[in-house]
């Protein structure tokens, strides 16, 4: 039995996501899980190479896998909430089997279902998502708990050969909504146009 070390998170999510996406070029493709990760990425700046999910909960990591397999020369970054990731724990095994070197998942873990009234999620009770990914066999896993851990997390997410699974323990903050376009067909068409040059 391992003892869980309780720490109060000090990482703010919006500056973290801005750091993760800072200086992005055409090599970086982003998928955001529904809810606050979508708003965080929108707050960092709209981009046609970001596919914002507004639904399909539990699908972000697997969308990232299909995209990573189709575009092996691009870096694919999935930004997911802890609720999103907990719904798709099986995909930790699925991704581990394929070992895509160009896929990174960053979980913005505030230990709560932020969209629905801040009910605690299982990570609040100590469920260790990075530990689960490590046990599944992801190439690199880590958990960032303070601002001092952020540079290593950003480096892993952007550059370390994957699959990379990084958890950022973030403050459970209620922030203003920053809403990207929500027409899925439009988001899909502009993404494909930017990446493939076709609608």
């Amino acid at each position: 039995m391992t003892t869980r070390t309780m720490t109060t998170p000090t990482i703010h999510r919006r500056p973290l996501v801005a750091r993760l996406l800072e200086g992005r070029d055409e090599r970086l493709l982003v998928v955001t899980g529904l809810g606050t990760p979508t708003y965080d990425a929108a707050a960092a700046g709209d981009d046609p190479r970001t596919f914002f999910l507004w639904g399909a909960m539990g699908g972000a990591t697997m969308m990232g896998l299909g995209l990573a397999l189709a575009q092996p020369d691009k870096r694919v970054l999935v930004l997911a909430g802890d609720g999103e990731m907990l719904m798709s724990v099986g995909s930790l095994a699925t991704v581990a089997m394929k070992r895509p070197a160009n896929l990174a998942v960053v979980v913005l873990d505030n230990e709560h279902f932020g969209e629905t009234g801040m009910q605690p999620t299982p990570t609040h009770a100590g469920v260790d998502l990075a530990g689960m990914a490590a046990a599944a066999g992801w190439a690199t896993t880590l958990t960032a708990r303070t601002d001092a851990d952020i540079p290593a997390l950003v480096e892993a997410a952007r550059n370390t050969p994957g699959p990379v699974f990084a958890v950022a323990k973030i403050m459970a903050e209620k922030l203003p909504f920053v809403l990207p376009p929500k027409d899925g067909a439009y988001l899909k068409d502009r993404f494909r146009q930017a990446v493939l040059g076709e609608a």
Partner: protein, 178 residues
Amino acid sequence: MSEAAPAAPTWPDDIYRALKAADIRQVAHVPDAGHARLIKSCEADNNMQTVTLTTEEEGVAMLCGAHLGGQRGVLLVQSSGVGNCINMLSLPQTCRMPFMMIVTMRGEYGEFNPWQNAMGLATEAVLTAMHVTCYRCDRAEDVGPTVANAARFTFEGGRPVAVLLSQRLIGAKAFVNE
């Protein structure tokens, strides 16, 4: 096995040829006996990425990601797995993405396991409710052309499609000690 074992059906090879002709590059599946031969063919193909899923809805999301990246894919599942896909089918519908699944049916003609009936008998209704067009196959000679036309329907027309391979075609599963 008796000495008079019937020849293995060749319609799985017809599916494989149709998938190749449609330039299918990603094959996601939850294994099913009815898909075993096809899965083996796809795994042996260096131009196809096969992905074994833990649950079927993963494949829906994965193939939508493949579409974002410019590749075509197919999801191979059993009818029971269609139930697992329901909400994730909102993704190809909302985003008007092509999406193709090939479903081996249980819970119908000759089924001996009543636990398969609930989802098997609801499969087509569920898919239709989620705006997935269903092409059903009862005869071996229809399988290749049906898959080819389903691929054309979804990848040219941009609407989700499912090919349902009926239990009459596949043969009802029997538990026999060998």
